[in-house]
């Protein structure tokens, strides 16, 4: 801090410091602040998103078809930053499904759809009577359970800010409402000043702040008057009138205006012992604590030149934009825009079924004349108007340059993340460049890149650890094999007859091999397989116990069949056959190896599955080979094939141990094979079609 004065002393001088940049867009507030706050009509359906605040959504408490009463909690907060949502009216839970969210992307989020019964019955109010008690934990828990979130726009859960971990000196009530058109806070102050001040007192109590500054922009004289009157005798609430300039309602800008201090980059106001609440939040807190009503409705400004009766409405959360706009009337011009929020920071409503949530302060339907849409983007002429307008003293044109060239390091060097996306730069840009859009894009990209990098690092570590583990396992296996070999050698030394047997078996195998090598080359493949089969049968008597033997036989049969098909395929289409033959060899090989390895029941099962797989694959191969011939193959052929498949499966089952699981698995395999065949067929048909088309 530059001066020796403490924060409070500095603030008490009553000075308004100002902030750099800022703009003065036409205010157009008179459109909607002429009438008192009306009540929105009771709609037939309410769309209550589970998540209406920043943080985590709560857990849904109700089921489909449940009857709910107004104010009944629909979710309960989960761990972390979380708030409940409450039923806006009485009725029945019709649906729980993703629905368009009140977010710029409109990405669907889980939403409870409540059909109103028209009675609007409430659960009994639960006022918190002794809020002035020195112990505030229960009070804060109450505020949390009432679902209060910041109503200014960010919808940060209020209970966090109401019970700050630091010593708070200053509470700032933000009633600046600097966005053009919006008057929700303005009218709320005009008609509910006393209640707001009660809410402020509760906040003063929970935060322990010594002073409250109530900041209002000087374009709301009526509100200033009533608020001043309401806190006449409160010596710890000071009303500060700030000059009208956008974005003086931004949290950081308002702090700079009122205290001359800047919230350090990447820190929060709380680090300056300041906490800021929106005026609407103060009102909601009063309602929650003194009247015992959860946050189920808020003031929403429905305005714009295209709205027939622009006004402020008490709107139940979950009301659709469509219902609200219908109540106020709309004369749509060509390409009418509907904006949720103000013209500077709001977002286009992509679907009028978008619900009103806790952060929604305005539905705007402006005319093209008053809020001119952006034209075609032109080249940046570096006029510097944007830099002059930027309240954060950034250099938007440099940011744009680096944003376009995706130089992320430069962007961070130029403090992209201190951009508050207020839109002042894009507003003044004569080249009509959507600067904020570029920045948002770049911010997302940088975050994504950081995440990717972290993920890559994690993947690298996992990969390396896996490699290390495999290496370890390999070493262990080698060691085991060596030991086993050692043991066998010792055993053989002791038993000569066994040695002879082995020698005999080897000789037999050799003879067979020789025979095969003499065989004609065309049948080479087939012969190879038979070798494999022979080998396995040869090896089996020495080492395998009975069921194993059978399995091996089954595998061998499957393999032989497959080879046959492969051969057939070779004749038809060499190119297609090759990869299959290769890929097939590995599973069977595996099965063989396992057959000669340790002998657990699981192992056996595995082998059986492998056999099934082999079969499935063989089928695949056959189908691919048949493709050329069976150009017009229809479903009946398919069925035939699958029947034979089934028989095959049964056959192999009869050979193997028949556990129910096994059968099931194999059936699945068969089914899959069938499905695949169908797929292939479909593809083939498509191919033929295109061919015909080409002709």
């Amino acid at each position: 801090m530059q001066s020796d004065l403490t924060l409070l002393e500095q603030v008490k001088s009553g000075k308004i410091w100002g902030f750099p940049g800022g703009i003065h867009p036409p205010e157009r507030k008179h459109l909607s602040n002429q009438t008192p706050i009306a009540q929105a009509n009771l709609a037939t359906h309410y769309y209550v998103p589970v998540k209406q605040h920043s943080g985590k959504e709560g857990e849904v408490l109700v089921k489909l078809g449940d009857k709910v009463l107004k104010g009944q909690p629909l979710t309960k907060p989960s761990t972390g930053l979380s708030l409940p949502v409450h039923a806006p009216t009485s009725g029945e839970v019709k649906e729980i499904k993703p629905h368009i969210s009140a977010h710029a992307s409109g990405a669907p989020e889980l939403t409870l759809i409540i059909e109103a019964d028209g009675k609007d019955d409430s659960v009994p109010a639960q006022p918190f009577n002794d809020w002035q008690a020195p112990e505030t934990d229960a009070l804060i828990e109450h505020i949390k359970s009432m679902g209060i979130a910041g109503l200014g726009g960010a919808a940060f859960p209020t209970y966090i800010k109401a019970h700050p971990a630091h010593d708070i000196e200053l509470l700032i009530i933000n009633a600046v409402e600097c966005e053009p058109y919006i008057t929700a806070d303005d009218v709320l102050m005009r008609y509910h000043a006393e209640e707001i001040i009660e809410g402020v007192e509760i906040l003063l109590h929970t935060t322990g702040a010594k002073l409250c500054l109530f900041a209002i922009e000087d374009n709301k004289p009526e509100a200033i008057e009533v608020i001043k009157k309401a806190c006449e005798h409160k010596n710890n609430i000071d009303v500060r009138v700030v000059p009208t300039k956008y974005p003086s309602g931004g949290e950081k800008q308002l702090i700079q205006l009122l205290t001359s201090q800047q919230v350090p980059s990447k820190k929060l106001p709380i680090d300056l012992s300041i906490v800021m609440q929106n005026v609407g939040t103060a009102f909601a807190i009063k309602k929650a604590v003194i009247d015992g009503l959860p946050l189920t409705e808020r003031v929403v400004t429905v305005t714009g030149e295209s709205i027939t009766n622009p006004q402020n409405l008490w709107t139940k959360l979950g009301t659709t934009v469509e219902d609200l706009v219908a109540q106020c009337g709309i004369t749509a011009e060509k390409d009418q825009r509907l904006i949720m929020g103000g013209p500077m920071m709001g977002f286009n409503i992509l679907d009028s079924q978008m619900p009103v949530v806790k952060a929604t302060n305005c539905i705007l339907a402006p005319s093209k004349y008053h809020v001119p849409p952006r034209g075609v983007e032109q080249a940046c002429i570096r006029c510097g108007d944007c830099a002059a307008a930027c309240p954060a003293e950034l250099l938007p044109q440099q940011l744009l340059w680096y944003s376009k060239s995706q130089e992320h390091e430069k962007l961070e060097e130029y403090d992209l993340f201190d951009c508050i996306e207020c839109g002042a730069c894009a507003y003044v840009c004569p080249s009509q460049i959507p600067l904020v859009q570029y920045y948002r894009n770049s911010k997302a990209e940088i975050r994504q890149a950081e995440e990717d990098k972290a993920k890559a690092e994690k993947a690298r570590i996992r990969f390396e650890q896996r490699q290390a583990r495999l290496e370890r396992e390999k070493q262990a296996r080698l060691k085991r094999h060596q030991e086993a070999a050692e043991r066998r050698r010792q055993a053989l030394n002791q038993d000569d007859s066994a040695k002879d047997k082995i020698a005999a078996a080897l000789a037999r195998a050799k003879a067979k091999k020789q025979q095969q090598s003499e065989a004609p080359k065309e049948t080479g493949k087939l012969e190879d397989t038979s070798t494999a089969v022979d080998n396995s049968t040869d090896a089996a008597p020495n080492q395998a116990i009975d069921p194993k033997d059978k399995v091996a036989a089954a595998i061998a049969r499957a393999k032989a069949k497959k080879e046959q098909k492969a051969k057939q395929a070779l004749e038809n289409s060499k190119s297609e056959q090759a990869p299959y033959a290769e890929s097939k060899s590995s599973p069977t090989h595996e099965a063989q190896e396992q057959a000669t390895d340790e002998k657990t029941p699981e192992q056996i099962k595995k082998e059986r599955v492998a056999a099934a797989i082999a079969k499935a694959k063989a089928k695949k191969a056959k189908e691919s080979s048949n493709e050329n011939e069976q150009a017009a193959a229809d479903k009946s052929t398919m069925t035939e094939e699958s029947i034979t498949d089934k028989q095959d499966v049964d056959a192999s089952e009869s050979q193997a141990l028949k556990t129910p699981e096994q059968i099931k698995k194999e059936k699945v395999a068969a089914a899959i094979a069938k499905a695949k065949a169908k797929k292939q067929q479909a593809k083939h048909n498509a191919d033929t079609l295109t061919e015909q088309g080409n002709e």
Partner: protein
Amino acid sequence: MKFMSNALMSSPHGRVRQSTNQVMRQVMYATAAGLAAQLIFFGWGVLIQIALCVTVALLAEALVLSLREKPVRATLSDGSAILTGLLLALSIPPLAPWWIAVIGTAFSIIIVKQMYGGLGFNLFNPAMAGYVVLLISFPVAMTNWQPPAELMAQSITYLDAITIIFTDFTIDGYSMSQLKLGVDGISMATPLDNFKTQLGQGFTASEITQAPIYNEHAGIGWQWINLGYLAGGLWLLKNGIIRWHIPLSLLASLTTCSFLYYAINPDLGLTPVAHLLSGATMFAAFFIATDPVSASTTVKGRIWFGAVIGVLIFVIRQWGGYPDGVAFAVLLANMMVPLIDYYTKPTAYGHKARG
């Protein structure tokens, strides 16, 4: 109820109604006063040069844009090429041969502007870079300013202007060097040129300014031209098209330098007023140095940028090889812009009270 939901579009939804085209157009309008003064003192040649330069600028821009496969019509309509042509035309001698205008403008547009990437990407002020190319390539033609109309032995009609630009001779067969002879039969140069030459021959400032091309403040004609551009510049300032930083710091630094020098060496230097009202001072301060693309973009940077130009103008006028130093000063300052911008980056919100 039926309405169109608009496309996904980032906030803000409104904008100011001032577009780049309007900015360019207003700058052009603002040259009117100075242009009128030039017309009065130097005759029709000015208009012919403007017509030539603007035409060539548009053609050159269209050519490069079509080669680069960019939208031709939309880009041409932003007015930046026309403005470049206009500014260059106002800088070159009104009776310079036609190919001067053509080469200069083509260089400005094709090499200085488009080859760097077009509007918004050029490091150098295109008009001034074109001017400098002409000046160093064709020093004779580029310093051939005829004397102001009232001092000329022959008056020049618009037909004379056309023929001398395209054929080097007036209808009556006078050449440029004959035209430069004043009423007294002495060859005339611009005041700044004359001053420099005479100074080199050992005359004192007070002796030199006795010559008929000077009046009590600066050169005949030139002071009105400068006042005209000053007026135009003030109008631009009032309309918020340009900001005060660059012109003010430029003029202030030029005044300071010339005042200091004049105070020490009254015999060797022009008065600050003469500096301000001679040559292209005001034109540079309000129309050239304020070109946003090639100027610094930070507030502090703009002040430095203007000051650097002011000092350089003085230095080149006083000691350099050319009579006026505006174009060189601007180009040198353009080169310094990245450096200036880097060191004058404003501290963003939240980075001040660190620690």
